[in-house]
């Protein structure tokens, strides 16, 4: 099922050629595009009446080169041009309430005075640098919502020959070359995936000739190449380093390798140059199964969709097999030119994110703790005993300013345990958290194995002498432990005791991914309201003092309400 996303481009150049690249970037993601392009010279007028309600993503694509025929010449008024562009960007940020892509701008490639300064006058380069700095600060104002497509970075990575293509500039109004447009498309597509809640979360790696040079089963621990003093060993070690950077950002790391598990684990634990250790792994399938089966098993174990996986393998046949069998998985083939493995992950940047929060950085600890919990559970056998032994504690409290980034992030990307999938942005959540007739709650979970951090959020609005649940969600990391019932129980208690309300209403809004919570409200003590609505939304209600509501919190979770 395709999820149609509406993109609006406000631009001052021919940006339409970005569309085929966007489609390629989004192939297999389940996102279908509808692009709308504004006029070439009407950006200011479009921004003045901008209403982002009908679009999913707004791209403000403005360059300096396109705004003045004097650009780069001695008589170009760079300060005035930069100021106009900054004002427009500021107004767009103020008027646009959903995800927005801004861009840095490129200074003239050559100095109009042949490199000479003009006495008493700021150079065009300095004016453009100042503008880019102001644009970066503007984007940082709301990093959960605003992405900066860094044109200066693309130009640095690509160089003059691949940034510009003058063949289409004078006649068709496109100054950039195809590689620049492809690079730009990748970032816009990433913003769109984030807006759609489809970010990738797990890196699955092949081992032989991907994590190290050679074949461990044949070459042995001393024969594989992983030393930083020689090539190709140094390439593989640099690749492992990049993997650890992703791990530090909260990307789960998994292995899918056709090998003996003991051989692979020996490399991780005992090879003197191995950076990636067993402790970094969230899951592994080291066996003789086909890779698509291993990848599906890893996704299931980590409670992730296939579209959350990125797979790296050097074998073109394995890559092809996974691409065909599991289209949602992003496949990166380790290049035959082995030195290109060094920055394969950075170059392709498949793990899009607008912000990295403390919870992201802690996530890997919790994936790993989940693994330990699962092993513990297998050892104990009986699940209720396990749940008691694990000593879970759920802290429920009002969301403060420090929690907003994480709450908004959960709203953006939680798909499975999400009753309504309402993607409120930072401004909306902040307003709700300050509204006397609304309640934004968050929940932190910890147990004897570790702290999972902020894993649940709920938004409730008062309506007369009752309350309507706008949002209830839990991170997939925290599922399977009945913490959701503890959270709901804490929510009911707060509405009853602190707000002294009489009734509560809630909804289940079906989406492509949230079938697991279709019956949640019934299990949580509410009564289904009849008749059902035509749009598939199911509504529930209960008196707040109904006995069923008082007993749903499981007794094996310690509830701390603040």
């Amino acid at each position: 099922m395709n999820d149609v996303k509406r993109l609006r481009f406000i631009r001052n150049f021919t940006i339409e050629p970005i569309e085929p690249w966007l489609k390629r970037e989004l192939a297999g993601s389940g996102i279908a595009l509808r692009c709308e392009f504004g006029g070439f010279a009407t950006a200011a007028e479009e921004v003045a009446v901008l209403d982002s309600a009908s679009t999913d993503l707004t791209v403000l694509a403005l360059g300096l080169e396109m705004s003045s025929p004097d650009f780069g010449h001695a008589n170009w008024d760079a300060d005035a041009a930069c100021e106009r562009l900054l004002l427009l960007a500021r107004e767009t940020v103020a008027r646009c309430h959903n995800t927005l892509v801004l861009n840095t701008v490129l200074a003239p490639l050559y100095n109009a005075n042949g490199g000479a300064g003009v006495l008493g006058q700021r150079s065009a380069e300095a004016a453009v640098d100042a503008l880019n700095l102001a644009l970066r600060e503007l984007a940082a104002y709301d990093p959960a919502r605003i992405m900066l497509a860094d044109w200066t970075l693309y130009a640095r990575q690509l160089g003059e020959a691949d940034t510009y293509d003058r063949r289409f500039w004078f006649t068709s109004g496109l100054p950039f070359g195809r590689r620049f447009m492809a690079r730009y498309a990748r970032d816009v597509a990433a913003a769109l995936r984030i807006a759609a809640g489809k970010v990738r979360k797990c890196l699955v790696l092949d081992c032989d000739n991907t994590l190290w040079g050679g074949v461990i089963g044949e070459d042995g621990l001393d024969g594989i190449q992983l030393s930083e003093d020689t090539v190709p060993g140094a390439y593989f070690r640099a690749f492992q380093r990049a993997v650890l950077d992703l791990h530090a950002r909260g990307v789960a790391i998994a292995l899918a390798s056709k090998n003996n598990e003991t051989d692979v684990m020996e490399v991780l634990e005992r090879h003197p140059h191995a950076l990636l250790k067993r402790a970094h792994l969230s899951a592994w399938r080291i066996n003789w199964e086909e890779k698509p089966i291993s990848l599906a098993a890893i996704a299931a174990q980590l409670n992730l969709g296939l579209d959350a996986l990125v797979f790296v393998d050097d074998n073109p046949l394995e890559c092809e097999l996974v691409t065909r069998a599991l289209p949602p998985v992003r496949v990166l083939q380790a290049p035959a030119a082995r030195e290109q493995l060094v920055d394969l992950l950075q170059r392709n940047n498949p793990f899009e994110a607008l912000i990295v929060t403390a919870a992201d950085r802690a996530r890997n600890a919790s994936y790993r703790e989940n693994r330990v919990r699962a092993e513990f559970s297998a050892a104990i056998g009986d699940l209720t005993v396990y749940k008691r032994e694990i000593g879970a504690e759920l802290r429920v409290r009002r969301a403060g300013d420090a929690d907003l980034a994480r709450v908004v992030q959960l709203l953006q990307r939680t798909n499975q345990f999400n009753l309504t999938t309402r993607r409120h942005d930072t401004a909306q959540v902040r307003a709700l958290s300050q509204d006397a007739d609304a309640l934004v709650l968050c929940a932190d979970l910890r147990d004897r194995f570790g702290d999972l951090g902020l894993i649940g959020a709920a938004i409730v609005r008062r309506s007369g002498d009752g309350a309507i649940v706008d949002t209830l969600l839990m991170s997939c990391r925290a599922l399977g432990r009945e913490a959701e019932f503890a959270f709901a129980g804490a929510l009911y208690a707060r509405l009853r005791d602190a707000w002294q309300l009489k009734w509560i209403e809630a909804e289940y809004v079906p989406s492509a991914k949230n079938a697991m919570v279709a019956d949640f409200w019934t299990h949580a003590g509410l009564q289904r309201m009849q008749p059902d609505r035509d749009d598939g939304v199911v509504r529930y209600r209960a008196a707040i003092d109904a006995p069923a509501l008082a007993t749903i919190a499981p007794d094996f979770i310690t509830l701390v309400s603040e």
């Binding site: 339409e16 050629p17 085929p20 063949r167 289409f168 195809r178 447009m181």
Partner: protein, 73 residues
Amino acid sequence: MMNEKLRAIVAEVLELDPALITVETSVENQPKWDSLRHMNLIFAIEDGFSVRFEDDALPQLTSIAAIECALKK
């Protein structure tokens, strides 16, 4: 015989059924082949075949026959 890789690229960019594309397909007889898609098409062909067309060749590349001929040079 038409180059199949070219057929696939043209079909993707012009959003046409590959079976409808022949060497005779051109700007003249294919309304979807407008100036914007022409630019997209040139980019996609340059990408797919690792070539770069000279700017004076671009205005002539308005039919599949002409593009095939240019790719053979």
